[in-house]
């Protein structure tokens, strides 16, 4: 689209670019970043001569350089792209990631940074061996460096695949992974650590520039952060709609109320694009305990709801006890007063059922030739519904009238329809409800104040078009009614007379049972009868128990009468429906009465009413009780994982050895905190802006989903100021390249270091020469790069940020306890440390793999390996707490590791190294005292 403005150097490729639909600016910026990185790598490669240069850059990097380099290495694809994507898709809960990524450094600073540097070892395995005088422990530590490293390379690879798929539309995800992985691997094999330090310091500033500048431009054009946030939550206000707040407002309602009453806020109202159905609703997105932390609970609730609609006759029924106790004077209405109408904002439309035009006749048909219209404990909504039915007109009621409130008993003479209608109007008026006709001819039920307002403005159009669900008397849950038909042999046209003066719920349901040939379930809630039901009626057949008789259906006459069987059945269903009840089939022989609810679909303007059934009811009840506590557990586990995991990431720790002394290591950490803290303010802004400006991404999956918001968002500027959008998008692409290149190279160096330095140099060939080690470093880089690429190709479906969180959780359960305890507890023994680290780390690894694999099993085109784990999903649905503890294991794995360390160390107390006092002194005494001692002496000689 911008082929005219493609930089000179790319002019020759213009036709090619046009065919591939590649944006020249984006390609140019990305190419420059990659070339500059590679050039710097080669340039510095000439200058890194010794093994010491390769591994830890000769330990002579200044605080400023080192802080920039650590930050550069730390700000991975997860930070650059993943956080923005996750904030966009999950909202508030995703904010914990950037905060804890940054704050985890504080833990590193407080407990680990200084002592570790003073100890003077190259890598974690060096530290493990030096602290415990144990070569065995070194091997264990090496294995863990590789494990955690691989877990952490996967999200970087996903970032690479996503970015390349964005730059070259049509390029498959795996190709991007292979291409970028190969380039970086080559670069590391040739450059080594010294090159990486320089490159990474440069890359930090590159990333900082790339994330902040586009944000400032976007905010200047489309409104600042706070403004963008203020639109999220309340819907666009309708000033003509009377706003009131119900007695017990939900948070969502209250936010909306506040926002709408604050007229000032709406002066700066921003235009939002409509959210697609897949996007979380504003309230769940904005508030804590949203989609991320409540996913397990939601899955569990859905399973419970599904179960409730299946053949379990004892679940989710409306009647708590034996329904036969509801006989006598109890009417349908009084039963339904225990139901609540769910909050629907705006208007509810109550329509007379068109198929039952002669409404009063139908009422009489069901309720007999009563002399009175009589309702005990009438609910406003039922009175309005009856009014609509009797007058044959549509009634539109404002939900803030308190539709479920009770108006008391009502008894009117059942004379003529017209008198009954005016009597009902009078009854409503005494309760403060007026009915006015609007321009469209519908009747609107309003409070007297609203009527006064309407009269003042003199403009009937001041009342907005009805919004909200249309609620017809005949509406029933489609699934539920279609599943229940008249009993075999009963023709729908069969005429009949049903004769009741004052029907009880039991009698009405008995008619229904008679018509459908089904039995109302549960017949009872008493334990003996339940057992009887389970034993298929054996107990009652043997006369061990005697179930009470089913009430008389009262259907007196078949073959003659004013109404057909189908009409009577429909009328009963309609009557139930009006009172928030519905009938649900149970197997072939039963039905039960459940609560039917009106719920809203999120921002789907067309049909906002969705009638759901017992499923929703059971689901909701379960969620009310369990959702938030589970989400709280998830949140805490996430915090622990990231905070402790930061302090245990191997590729970050190795950087501390490049500080000249412990004080410098501490100062470095402080500057790292400031540098990354500044950075982390920005990615959530991308997420918030993306939700308002580019919600289409919610519909994408894999590399085309919200993970690419950082790359894609600046491009919308092209609509106003071309080619600014492309330039800025090019800059963020360059930043993304910097992000996954720097982290991936850092990981490669630390993993290759472990392989070459520990596995080869220490274990396989201790007598290897310097040159052999250097060669091994290069070969190792290629091997590890290849494995990382293969792993990266598998994870397109997982979110970048989520995968990083998992790597952190494993590090938190293994390295953090090791480092923390080894630095601060002198009685720690090798066996204790190894047991704790291995158990914690492996348990976390196992649990995380299980949840990730079972998630991948449900993805489209899942590979055969992952589908093996699909069987776990029902288990997770049944045990949401276990699912959370497996997905985020830090909350139990970190304490487990530490406890094991303490217990096993106590048991093996005699194995505490003899020179432990000296070791603790080296770890903690200031270096000016000259106690510093290089544990790994041989490399210093070179």
């Amino acid at each position: 689209m911008n082929s005219l403005s493609v930089p000179l150097c790319l002019c020759g490729f213009q036709p090619v670019l046009a065919v591939l639909n590649v944006d020249g600016w984006i390609l140019a910026f990305s190419a420059i970043t990659v070339v500059a990185t590679i050039f710097m790598g080669f340039w510095t490669a000439k200058r890194s001569k010794t093994a010491s240069d390769f591994f830890v850059a000769g330990r002579s990097v200044s605080v400023g350089w080192n802080a920039s380099a650590i930050s550069g290495e730390y700000l991975s694809a997860a930070s650059f792209m993943g956080i923005a994507g996750m904030v966009m898709s999950s909202g508030y809960d995703a904010l914990w990631y950037p905060v804890c990524y940054a704050c985890g450094y504080l833990f590193l600073l407080l407990f680990i940074a200084g002592p570790l540097r003073r100890f003077g070892a190259y890598t974690i395995p060096d530290f493990a061996e030096g602290r415990f005088d144990s070569p065995v422990f070194r091997k264990i530590a090496v294995v863990f460096v590789l494990f955690i490293g691989f877990f952490y390379t996967m999200p970087q690879m996903k970032g690479a695949g996503t970015t390349l798929a964005y730059i070259f539309p049509g390029l498959p995800y795996w190709a991007g992974v292979v291409l970028v992985g190969a380039v970086i691997t080559l670069n590391v094999a040739l450059g080594g650590m010294k090159g990486i330090t320089l490159v990474q310091a440069f890359q930090y500033w590159m990333k900082m520039f790339a994330i902040s500048v586009p944000i400032f431009v976007l905010m200047a054009v489309y409104g600042h952060y706070g403004k963008q946030m203020s639109v999220t939550g309340p819907e666009k206000p309708d000033f003509s709609t009377p706003i009131a707040i119900s007695e017990n407002p939900s948070i969502e309602e209250k936010q909306r109320f506040d926002a709408i009453n604050n007229a000032k806020q709406w002066e700066m109202y921003l235009e939002r694009k409509p959210l697609p159905l897949k996007a979380p609703a504003d309230a769940t997105w904005l508030n804590p305990f949203g989609p991320l932390t409540t996913k397990a609970a939601k899955t569990a609730a859905a399973a419970i709801g599904k179960q409730a609609t299946l053949a379990n006759p004892f679940a989710a029924t409306v009647f708590p006890d034996d329904w036969r106790s509801l006989s006598g004077a109890t009417s349908l209405v009084s039963v339904s007063t225990s139901m609540t109408l769910p909050a629907v904002n705006g208007w509810v439309t109550l329509e007379p059922p068109p198929s039952l035009a002669r409404a009063e006749d139908r009422l009489k048909a069901v309720f007999g030739q009563a002399q009175h219209y009589s309702v005990g404990n009438a609910k406003l909504v039922s009175v309005l519904m009856d009014y609509a039915r009797l007058s044959g007109r549509k009634v539109i009621a404002n939900t803030n009238l308190g539709l479920t409130r009770l108006l008391g008993s009502l008894q009117l003479n059942w004379n003529e329809r017209a008198t009954l209608v005016s009597d009902l109007e009078r009854f409503l008026a005494t309760n403060g409800i007026a009915l006015r006709q609007d321009a469209a001819g519908s009747l609107r039920a309003m409070t007297q104040e609203q009527v006064a307002k309407w009269d003042r403005s003199g403009d009937p159009s001041a009342v907005a078009d009805p919004k909200g669900p249309v609620w017809r008397g005949e509406d029933t849950v489609p699934y539920l009614t279609s599943a229940i038909s008249l009993r075999a042999g009963l023709s729908p046209d069969q005429r009949m007379t049903v004769n009741f003066d004052s029907p009880s719920i039991a009698q009405v349901l008995a008619i229904y049972a008679d018509l459908t040939g089904r039995q109302l379930l549960p017949r009872t809630n008493s334990i003996p009868e339940r057992v009887d039901a389970l034993l298929l009626g054996t107990l009652s057949r043997w006369k061990l128990i005697s179930p009470p008789a089913v009430p008389d259906s009262g259907v007196r006459e078949h073959g003659d009468g004013a109404f057909t069987a189908a009409e009577v059945k429909a009328a009963i269903e309609a009557q139930l429906r009006t009172h928030g009840l519905a009938v649900a089939p149970v197997g072939e022989k039963g039905f039960r009465v459940v609560a039917a609810e009106v719920t809203r679909l999120p921002s789907n303007g067309k049909d906002q009413s969705l009638l759901t059934s017992a499923a929703t009811n059971a689901e909701k009840a379960w969620l009310d009780k369990h959702e938030k506590p589970l989400a709280l557990v998830y949140t805490y586990s996430l915090i622990i994982a990231i905070v402790c995991g930061t302090a245990g990431l191997p590729h970050i720790l190795v950087r501390f050895y490049t500080n000249p002394d412990g004080t410098a290591a501490k100062k470095t950490t402080m500057w790292v905190m400031i540098l990354i803290g500044m950075f982390y303010v920005f990615p959530p802004v991308f997420g918030a802006l993306g939700r308002n400006l580019l919600p289409d991404l919610y519909n994408g999956v894999g590399a085309k989903g919200t993970d690419k918001i950082v790359l894609e968002l600046p491009r919308i500027l092209n609509a106003k100021y071309p080619p600014l959008g492309s330039i800025l998008s090019g800059i963020t692409c360059a930043g993304a390249f910097a992000a996954f290149m720097s982290t991936f190279s850092g990981l490669l160096v630390s993993m290759t270091g472990a392989l070459a330095h520990d596995v080869y140099g220490r274990i396989l060939r201790p007598k290897a020469t310097q040159d052999e080690r250097m060669r091994m470093f290069k070969i190792g880089a290629v091997i590890i790069g290849a494995i990382a690429i293969l792993l990266g190709m598998q994870v397109e479906q997982l979110q970048i940020n989520f995968m990083v969180g998992q790597a952190f959780a494993i590090a938190a359960a293994s390295y953090f306890p090791l480092l923390f305890m080894a630095v601060w507890w002198r009685k720690l023994t090798m066996k204790g440390a190894a047991t704790g680290m291995l158990t914690g780390g492996l348990a976390a690894l196992l649990c995380i793999s299980l949840t990730s694999f079972s998630d991948l099993a449900t993805a489209p085109k899942a590979s055969a390996f992952f589908t093996l784990f699909a069987g776990l999903n029902p288990f997770w649905a049944a045990h949401p707490l276990l699912r959370i503890l497996c997905e985020q294991p830090a909350i139990w794995a970190v304490p487990l590791a530490i406890t094991l360390m303490v217990i096993v160390s106590k048991l093996t107390a005699h194995e505490v190294p003899g020179d432990i006092h000296m070791k603790m002194l080296v770890l903690h005494a200031p270096e000016q005292l000259g106690l510093k001692q290089e544990y790994i002496q041989e490399h210093q000689a070179h």
Partner: protein
């Protein structure tokens, strides 16, 4: 070592208090945390904006105190000889 640890623990407690109390506040006082400030909800503003400067302050204070402590130790050892050092070990 003991004094360094005490300092570290004090700073860590400050930080943990803030970090662990925010979810509790979200849990028990959702209405309060949903109050709007500059367009943000209160809880979003605290977590997404204010938290970073708070951590900088803690780390800055810690670095200054910690380096001062090291200096004090060095001068103590240089002037007090080996006694101070052996005391340090206990």
């Amino acid at each position: 070592m003991a004094r360094q640890l005490k300092l570290s623990v004090a700073c860590a407690l400050m930080f943990l208090l803030a970090l662990l109390c925010l979810p509790l506040a979200n849990y028990f006082a959702p209405e309060l945390m949903a109050t709007r400030i500059f367009g943000f909800t209160l809880t979003w503003f605290v977590l997404g904006v204010l938290f970073f400067p708070f951590v900088w302050i803690i780390s800055y204070v810690f670095i200054r105190r910690s380096i001062a402590l090291e200096r004090a130790e060095v001068s103590e050892v240089r002037h007090g000889g080996t006694e101070a050092r052996s005391k340090e070990q206990k």
